[in-house]
Symmetry: C2
Subunit: 568 residues, 2 copies
């Protein structure tokens, strides 16, 4: 059993693997080296420290008992040696040694290892733009930056902030700054949507509306060209479309895996720079492991090597590696890509591929959206939830799911149920129709929204109706002079909304459509909408029975349209 375990990196995975290894093999010598002062902190909590929801920065590196996880903690409680401010310079794989440098004394030293773990994490991607060295230009991975931002907010010296990048960390920071400190925030995102790769275009539009309706400006398909400053401090951001004033700029434009150490030791890395590992989390060298934000693991859905830098992934992988460092043979199955984020009124959650991502991966994929209450409709406390199921057209295989709603835990329940099946089986839409989830009126509907998503997807695949997104429906509406589409609102006349007050927006409730079939033209395309999609579907079937088949139906109905901030 190996005696000398050496770990490079002490944030999440490194300490987890160290403690697990030490528990299983108390005789091992376990040393963690890290070039920073702080180790073992919850980097994911930084936005919540900035917002003030977490009061003390030390809470991010403390146990639930408020014991700070510093080197002394690891020595006394875990029997693990932590050497901070110690940079790993080079691996000599033949000699099984690691060259390190003490950043305080400047002294270099060669440490022997039996097993080495690279837990070097990732660095924020800073676009190479002019002005990036100005003060008040930060990224959000270090505790020091978090403290600086919160301190500036508390002093009132941040009136306007620009966040470069509309991914998870960028949006969490936007919410924190805007909601708590009243900072006027602009998010600049290079791609054409927020949370690219995680959300479908429709869901991303809902996320954007949640931001803009809470005074956060969102600029997509926009590129930062340079930062401007005065007296060394940032003053503005120039994009390819506008100039934005800024007292604070946060770069949240993704991560680059820290894999130099591995590369210079001739360990294979993937195309996007992450260290390739097998199911045991071992690199090409059986004595060198890697995991967390610096490593590439298998995407279970595509079967290809991928990258998912998330604290939860790091923790789970850390335990697997810890077992193996102690002589075990634990495996990590890869990932399907499961995530969650809380914005303002809405939470978003997803697993697997988006429709757009699936198409890019070569699947003949489409997304099918539904909206429904997250409880029995007769139960008093309830929220509207939206889910989008991503499927392969030819096989009905489910490739992913995403959703949005005010009830975050309830949304997580639906997504996690599908995520588990995606991880250990290859579900079809029929499996989601029949997915057995916990039911009682305070928790779910008897035909729960996750099952309804499967049902609707099955109806779409069977060609029973032609779906359009709420966005596409509203685009048809805007262009009605050209496309000559006939619009039908299938909601009950009693509940007729303001949208009905337009001569081209025809209110023909489901209850009346059979009797009023003569009002529906046979020489024009027809587009139907209702509240959530269900009555419009029943109306489509009635139209079909009457020979009217050039019909589309808005998925998720007006509920989806409104979440996107659209109006007829």
């Amino acid at each position: 059993m190996p005696e000398n375990i050496l770990i490079v990196g002490g944030v999440a995975l490194g300490p987890k693997a160290a403690c697990r290894c030490k528990r299983l093999n108390p005789d091992a010598t376990v040393i963690i080296v890290d070039e920073n002062v702080h180790v073992s902190y919850g980097g994911c909590g930084i936005p919540y420290f900035i917002s003030g929801e977490i009061n003390n920065l030390d809470d991010l590196r403390a146990t639930p008992y408020h014991t700070v996880r510093d080197p002394e903690f690891f020595r006394r409680m875990k029997g693990v040696t932590v050497r901070t401010q110690t940079r790993a310079l080079a691996i000599d794989r033949a000699a099984k040694t690691l060259l390190v440098k003490d950043l305080v004394s400047g002294r270099e030293q060669t440490l022997p290892y039996d097993k080495l773990l690279l837990a070097t994490g990732a660095s924020p991607r800073i676009p190479p733009v002019e002005g990036r060295e100005l003060s008040n230009v930060l990224s959000l991975t270090r505790l020091e930056a978090a403290a600086a931002i919160r301190s500036a907010c508390q002093k009132g010296s941040v009136g306007k902030a620009v966040i470069v990048g509309g991914g998870f960390i960028g949006l969490e920071a936007a919410v924190a700054l805007s909601d708590m400190w009243g900072v006027k925030v602009s998010v600049v995102e290079m791609t054409n949507q927020l949370l690219p790769g995680a959300l479908s275009a429709s869901c991303a539009r809902m996320a954007a509306h949640d931001c803009t309706s809470h005074n956060v400006d969102v600029f997509t398909s926009e590129k930062v060209l340079r930062l401007t400053g005065k007296d060394g401090a940032v003053q503005g951001v120039v994009t390819d479309k506008r100039e934005l004033a800024a007292d604070l700029v946060i770069f949240a434009a993704g991560f680059l895996p820290n894999s130099e150490l591995a590369r210079t030791a001739d360990l294979p890395v993937t195309a996007f720079g992450a260290i390739a590992v097998d199911e045991y989390m071992r690199t090409a060298d059986p004595d060198v492991y890697a995991g967390g934000d610096c490593a590439s693991i298998k995407n279970i859905i595509t079967g290809k090597m991928g990258y998912l830098p998330l604290g939860s992934m790091a923790n789970r992988q850390g335990r697997v590696i810890g077992t193996n460092l102690a002589g075990g043979t634990a495996t990590f199955p890869g990932y399907v890509g499961t995530w969650a984020i809380k914005l303002f009124d809405l939470s978003f959650c997803g697993a697997g591929l988006t429709a757009e991502r699936a198409v890019a991966e070569g699947f003949d994929a489409l997304g099918v959206g539904v909206e429904q209450l997250d409880r029995a409709h007769f139960y008093p406390e309830k929220n509207m939830m939206g889910l989008e199921l991503v499927l392969e057209r030819s096989t009905g295989r489910v490739l992913g799911i995403q959703g949005a709603g005010p009830g975050g835990d309830a949304l997580k329940a639906r997504v996690d149920a599908v995520a588990g099946v995606l991880q250990y089986a290859k579900p079809t839409v029929a499996d989601i129709s029949n997915l057995e989830v916990a039911y009682a009126p305070p928790f779910a509907a008897a035909m729960d929204i996750v099952n309804v998503a499967g049902n609707v997807a099955e109806n779409v695949l069977a060609g029973r109706f032609t779906p359009v997104t709420g966005e596409a429906f509203m685009e048809l509406w805007q262009k009605r002079d050209k496309n000559k589409v006939f619009f039908i609102d299938s909601r009950p006349a009693a509940g007729r909304a303001v949208e009905a007050n337009h001569p081209d927006w025809h209110s023909i409730p489901l209850e009346e459509i059979a009797a009023r079939i003569a009002e529906v033209p046979r020489d024009r395309p027809v587009a139907l909408i209702c509240n959530t999609g269900l009555r419009a579907y029943d109306s489509v079937l009635i139209l079909a029975r009457n020979g009217i088949t050039d019909v589309v139906n808005a998925m998720g109905g007006m509920q989806s349209v409104r979440k996107m901030g659209l109006k007829p």
Copy 2:
């Protein structure tokens, strides 16, 4: 394609199957017969109507748009004929006819069918005790009974109620009567725990404590012998242990599947009286289907035919049957048994087998309990959650999961994630350790409780510590004079609870145990407890390194003990 579809029973599955069939095959004639006045109602909502959370009884038989689902609704909107107050008397399978009787006119009629669906539901099991015919003795399956109970509560004429049966409906009714109307409720349960079959003994003790601490008396292992009355109205309940005064008695002692029609037509039923169906939900006669509360389906975990009368099962099965009635070949995979219930401060949720049930089914099974916060510990809003994973000792196969906590949706998320995997794979504890669930600090911990449950289970199976339940720990404590166990509280000294103020309750925090090892006797068994179980586990490892191995550790720590209402 069959033309005449005849359905017996119009509550949940019948209407669902009828509408689905009619959507797929609009040319079919679909007739539902039901002996009652009301059809298509949400029976699961009855407790919430009694509590007043649902205001109007019609809400239970209305669409989300407040359209009441009466025969006229089905005729106009769905093209389905509903004949209420019409009792099915006999099936002639050779002639493919059903004899029915109009309960108003008394007239009998023979209806032909191409496909017949038995959706006859189940009847409440009324124990054959004296006095069961008294007034104010009710069960909770009919809307009429619900209206009578609420009306009596509103009039203030119910001071004391006895509920016979501590299953789902019994407890939902107990909460409704006690919480909303201040009725003094006693629950009498024949078996030795609440929610038998659904909850482990430990979790059931938590449910009982949630009830008793909210003024609901719970009497388990107690049998009702007779009801006493005055002037025809119930006045008391005599059990084998006491006499309870009662203005209202509710029988909630389980269900008996309504399978007489099938039995008299020589269709096979299972030992417990439910109609046997195959994966297409077909009986032994290919032209006769059955589903919902009258049918038996496969338990995916045991592989045996079982019974799960739940509205959600009926809805999903109804859709499958509707597809098949229209000529399709949809299948229903069976069930793992997933459920949820909200009591007072706590919600409970589970899937699969309990440890006790698994042992009864022949598995060498045990339950492993954990307690942890349902969010990142540094996130301000969070709740303590308890989970119990049920596993097969020899293989590490996961057979079930249950949990308890104040955050119901968050609990559902963990249980549903495991339920999905149980349904479509045969997960091991390692799969639960690695289960990929959505993570962000407002939703989960980086090492989420569901993963921790897998980790702890793996440690138990590997023999790294010997767990005892909180209940067993407290029993050891009570009998300390005899068993000579040495008790250690591993919580930090600063957070030392009142329990420590006893000379035999030794406070040796994890931080100090290595230094104070001499205080731990080597000739006595040792029992450790902490807040949730984690620090006690680390202490166990330190004791083991020092040669002290006759040690047990309380699963879920004081969090679990307190939820059971126990005190040192």
